[in-house]
Amino acid sequence: MKSNAFSLENRIGEPVKFGDRQMIPISQVLRIQPPMLNLGLVWNRPASIVVRQADGSEQVLPVIDVTRRYQWSIFAAGIVFSAFFWAVGRFVKIIKEKIA
């Protein structure tokens, strides 16, 4: 059986019934298994919930990882502000050299 070293796929779980509705959980799986190495990594995260109404209409509710988004935003802000301080420092240094 041939297996890929990297695979990214969506998996559908068992529907959960609630009243006349059905909720279908969907997860996203990233699998890394290098073929010649005895190691592997599986990253499984919730992707969305599909809500199926009694009349057959469907609604997709994405599951957003708010903590991760905030985390990346904070890191990005740190890098942007650091770059800004660096640019200001360089500018001030050049001005001082010109005045001197």
């Binding site: 509705r21 995260r45 609604q59 890098i79």
Partner: protein
């Protein structure tokens, strides 16, 4: 006698390899269970007219290694007739793995509708803020530091 002992050694060697492969296959199967949807979504909890479905992200890593070897004693001339050849086999292996899990959101279903409530990890955000602040502070200090006096 010599042939019999050699056959039993080969049998035990084959049995050891079979057992190891079995253990490795079981471990890989458990590792791959982390890729299942059930690993991410918990069992639904009903409280009155509200149904709660917890959702978490799962990160699982595994690595292992093993090796086998065998050898026989090098006999000098004339010793071969004196007794059986001494032979030995050995093997070993090891591995490790870790599973991380973190709550991401909670799906709340009520008669009014279904909504996804995010779970915010304040400790992670505080750590991220401290790291970013430390980085910015370091850059500020580097920028405002006076130039070193040159040696004359």
């Amino acid at each position: 006698m010599n042939d019999e002992s050699q056959v039993s050694l080969e049998d035990s060697e084959a049995r050891q390899i079979d057992e190891t492969i079995h253990v490795v296959q079981e471990t890989i199967a458990k590792f791959l269970e982390a890729a299942d949807v059930d690993a991410v979504y918990g069992k639904p909890v009903q409280n009155g007219e509200t149904l709660i479905l917890p959702a978490a992200e799962v990160l699982s890593g595994l690595g292992f290694g093993m090796g086998y070897g065998g050898g026989s004693e090098q006999l000098e001339e004339g010793e071969a007739a004196a007794g059986p050849t001494r032979r030995g086999v050995g093997g070993g292996g090891g591995g490790g793995g870790r599973v991380f899990s973190r709550p991401v959101a909670v799906v709340v279903a009520t008669p009014q509708g279904v909504r996804v409530e995010p779970v915010i990890d304040v400790s992670k955000l505080a750590l991220a803020a401290l790291t970013a602040a430390g980085f910015m502070f370091g850059m500020l200090v580097k920028m405002t530091r006076l130039p070193r006096p040159t040696a004359e």
